[in-house]
Symmetry: C2
Subunit: 646 residues, 2 copies
């Protein structure tokens, strides 16, 4: 039976960081930086262990800086166009005696006796003599010893990340090998009996270890070398053994907690046995159950098992320690001010991290919160920004000005196109074309047609897909746009007509033929969220047919996209759901047509914004229309037609 999990009182993040850093400092962890000697040519991106000084000057001899003749400057004084001087040309190498010169190429050693070079363009050669028409200043066109780098001079300081030009400078200054900080070795130990290492071992109830490869990659990005260990079952002795072995040959140990209740207790007790646990539980969300310990003078971190929690806590606690271990400064993320697109609730006493889509809408950066579950890895891949809701706040109202840490370069913001509204597979195709032709990135928040209209109304999105039937007029979309977006300076363009219908398992095993059959016993329905055009269509049709929604099992379970409906049915969790034919076709489901509807896009860009023109151009292209129709159930022949401009 379950043990109730007991965390130590959750500690504020700053306090946890400070406590752990102090313990690591006291243990001398940041002072002991092991070094290794490597070839300069292999040193790109490595960090110098100590300052490196030139062992020879650059250049290491006085040389000609031009092609021409090497001369004694004093022999040339008085030469003019009208009274040129003649110097006898000696064989290469000199020495240059009064009245003589010799030919030099750029880079040649300046012959003894010479103290200047005259460019070949300014010399007339004839009969073994060089004729010059102007005096040379002493030391002109001569590169003297050490002009670039002087022997003994510092080439790169300590704790410097070696770049291409540094490699050239080090080689020029006579260095062939340099000492660099050895990359910290970071052991990564996944734990949990239910965790499997490969897709082949995957079965219901089994969870693929995606955390180890993710953290291994992150650790590489932070300059360290990941050492991946085998998965440890929920077995205290095995975990103790794995951590202890890793402490022998690594500079840091990360355990990734299994999701079962027992494992986290093991993590805590193993770390307590091997050293000192400083923090067990931090007042952050996601990531609360993190464990921070120092064992045998080295950091040991227990990360939570949900991927979003694991990644966030690694960023907060692993990254700074790895950078400090290498003697590198912490770089702060770039920040922007943005307008929060939707209300956010938060628990008082917990610092909550929210992943965000970002885009510049009509001159202001809009931050749209992504789904917040700790298990939603897609919220990490989609995030362009991250913000923290402070522990003392219970939430933020929509429209609040917030400070956002950027996850990608700021320049990318101008390429983001924020789509908020009804989901359609044709939007993914649009995104692909925009990316290919202009480097634009379409990010979609699926909040349904009405949600899309409200987002445009609040200037929180560039684009909204809608399919809303006005029951009075039988007209699609424009009645809603006229009512809700008058004066908003946006544009509506047509995308396609598409078929809506019931998605059912292949072969339709439950014999569903109409909406009325959804009331049959043993039929599990999967619904779309309120405010979505598809839900409104369902409710409209149910009312028309006099069907009581309360009679439909599963009516209360809502998902946000056509594909999520299809996936529920394909996975056997539901028997039927209303959605577009393309979703059925994508997952090989059967499809029972119910209605044909009109899917349009609202575009919200300034008139001179090239993104609007690009979108319309894509919609009107034959290639795009063909691809949309190939999804199944679409008529895209009029895609790109402008239906309304305000």
């Amino acid at each position: 039976m379950h043990n109730g999990k007991v965390y130590l009182d959750c500690m504020p993040r700053q306090e946890a960081e400070a406590l752990w850093r102090k313990a690591l400092s006291s243990a001398g962890y940041f002072a002991r930086l092991p070094a290794e000697e490597i070839a300069v040519e292999q040193a790109l991106g490595r960090v110098t262990d100590c300052a490196v000084y030139a062992v020879q000057s650059v250049p290491h001899y006085n040389g000609a800086a031009m092609d021409g003749i090497a001369v004694r400057a004093e022999d040339t004084f008085g030469a003019t166009e009208r009274q040129p001087k003649k110097l006898r040309v000696l064989p290469a190498g000199g020495p240059i005696l009064p009245g003589t010169c010799c030919v030099v190429d750029t880079g040649d050693v300046l012959p003894p006796g010479a103290n200047a070079v005259i460019m070949v363009e300014d010399v007339h050669f004839a009969e073994g003599y060089a004729e010059i028409a102007a005096a040379a200043a002493p030391w002109q066109h001569v590169r003297i010893i050490g002009e670039d780098i002087v022997q003994g001079e510092m080439i790169v300081p300590e704790r410097h990340v070696i770049g291409p030009a540094d490699i050239a400078a080090l080689l020029a200054a006579g260095l062939e090998r340099i000492k660099v900080t050895a990359k910290p070795r970071v052991a990564i130990i996944p734990t949990g009996t239910e965790i499997v290492a490969s897709r082949q071992e995957l079965a219901p109830g089994r969870i693929l270890d995606i955390n180890s490869p993710m953290l291994a990659a992150a650790v590489q990005v932070w300059g360290a070398q990941p050492v991946r260990r085998k998965i440890v079952n929920d077995d205290r002795a095995a975990l103790a053994q794995a951590v202890s072995t890793s402490l022998d040959d690594c500079d840091m140990v990360i355990t990734i907690a299994g999701t079962s209740a027992g494992t986290e207790d093991y993590t805590f007790s193993v770390m307590s046995e091997l050293g000192q646990v400083l923090v067990h539980g931090v007042a952050i969300k996601p990531g609360k159950p993190v464990v921070l310990a120092v064992c045998r003078g080295k950091p040991v971190v227990g990360l939570p098992g949900y991927p979003v929690s694991a990644m966030l806590t690694a960023e907060l606690f692993v990254r700074p320690v790895l950078l400090a271990r290498q003697g590198l400064p912490m770089t702060q993320p770039k920040q922007v001010e943005a307008k929060l697109a939707r209300q956010l609730f938060s628990t008082i006493g917990v610092e909550e991290y929210v992943r965000l889509s970002l885009g510049n809408v009509q001159g202001r950066i809009v931050a749209a919160p992504l789904a917040r579950g700790a298990g939603l890895i897609s919220s990490l891949t989609r995030a362009r920004g991250l913000m923290a809701i402070p522990a003392e706040s219970d939430g933020l109202a929509a429209g609040t000005a917030v400070t956002v840490n950027l996850c990608s370069p700021k320049s990318e913001l101008e390429r983001q196109v924020l789509a908020v509204g009804s989901h359609d597979l044709a939007l993914d195709l649009l995104g692909m074309h925009l990316r290919r032709h202009g480097g634009h990135v379409l990010s979609c928040a699926n909040v349904g047609s009405m949600g899309g209209i409200m987002a445009i109304r609040n200037n929180e999105a560039h684009l909204a897909g809608i399919h809303l039937l006005d029951e009075e007029t039988g007209e699609y979309n424009l009645p809603f746009v006229r009512r809700l977006l008058a004066g908003r300076k946006c544009m509506v363009v047509h995308l396609a007509r598409r078929e809506q219908g019931l998605l059912v398992a292949p072969g339709n095993p439950k014999g569903i033929r109409s909406l009325a059959d959804l009331m049959n016993p043993g039929i599990m329905y999967i619904n779309r969220q309120r405010g979505s055009g598809t839900r409104m269509l369902l409710d409209y049709e149910l009312r028309r047919l006099g069907i009581d929604a309360g009679q439909i099992q599963g009516y209360e379970k809502e998902v946000a996209t056509h594909m999520a409906v299809a996936a529920s049915i394909a996975g056997g969790a539901a028997d039927a759901g209303l959605g577009i034919r393309a979703a059925a076709q994508a997952l090989g489901l059967d499809f029972i047509p119910i209605a044909s509807e009109q899917y349009d896009l609202i575009l919200n860009f300034a008139d001179d914004d090239e993104r609007r023109e690009k979108i319309i151009a894509v919609l009107r292209s034959d290639g795009y229309r063909r691809e949309v129709e190939a999804l199944g159930g679409y008529d895209a022949s009029r895609a790109g037609t402008v239906l309304w401009v305000d």
Copy 2:
């Protein structure tokens, strides 16, 4: 004898870029992106060849999101604290029939019949029954199929750089291998008979190939794979052979011109033979002689041989083509507005690139131009910024507001300490300590003591080292500071007393004993620049002794640091020079004492700037004082004493 080098008319940069890009586009170079399939776990930093779609949903089954019991929500309706409901606990796995439940751990499959999970904290277990005191909402604490990622959904778009979270998402969505763009292979062919590949082959007149390793590293930074070729002598057939072979197995060929006049002609004629030369000579400085060609549909670039020219032209012409070849967007460098510290002249008709030191001095960013020679690799390693002087400009006055492209993160600007003034080895040590204790980076421009005072006066530097003897009072430094920096809110702190004297070759082969001996025949002197304290000391002593400077051979050859003087003597280019004992000691020279002088620092920081306190703390530390005295000829016992505050 030399052929006059003939360049095609130098083309404006933008025109050259456009012409070449157009030719490469026409040849289909940017369309043909070869792909390779690799393991997702190895994909960090690679670029997707095409969009990648989920092959399974995440999660791929309906599962418990909490530890607890799986129930039929309808069985729980009506349960309250006062009227709890009892459910019989079945063995794990179900199926859940009316009135029953079973225990589930987070991640477990939801048993058939169940549609909700109740947290273990809210359940009281007794005698085979679970007692619950509140109703469960349908689907509460259930992670449904596809909640995170739906089968068929796009995980990453095409031309996306894979990061750690992407790896996790791809693995979770059932991908084990993905197609990524193959790294372009870039052949790097150094040319020139005088070029050698290793330090062992180095001799006067020989030049070490530092360009190949530098460009190989740069090419790696730009996502491509360098393929380094052997050095090709100045031999047309050999060059043609090398380029042709490389065109067979590489995506781009770079030749690095030798410095001899003939080689560039070979480059041009070989490229003309193998394909089409589009550009021969661009109106930029450095980098004018670049050659851009398309041979067999691939780019071939002839880079100039001077390292600064090679690197700059590679940035301008190689990088954009490599990024485009990989389908990656060109990121624009970060820019800052800065005040130009010194006047810059430029040639009309040529776009000139200038490397800069940067630092925030009293609230304004100051850009101090570094030495501009194309051969000065140290100007690349020291540069924190780069600016272009437009072709139509003949120069910029000191104080001009300029736009600077940053070479390092903007946050680093606040850590820069700009030192301008007299050079001393003790400054290098100060820089090392500042870096170690605060991550500060000291960059020194050696313009002599008077130059340092003027830089402080113009708020163009944080720090200036000075050693200026006031002939009237015999006092050092302060008379000049009082006269020139009154009201400037700066501070003077003492650094050390140090010995100045004549540096001569080991064993003093020319028997030099005093300044008067510099007039002896056969003695070559090496001088310091006007405005430097050392030069002022020399001129003062010469005047005092009645020596005519015109009688000293080499008096007109000026270098900017003590170490450059020492290096000239160590390399045999000069016989004597005035400088500090530490420079002699560093290069094993003999030293003839002439004077003892006072070396002080002017500090120009706002009162609350922590950098000033850090500098003073370093100066006063025993460790620093010991290290300075170990350089030779210093008394640093009073380092850090404040001499003057305005």
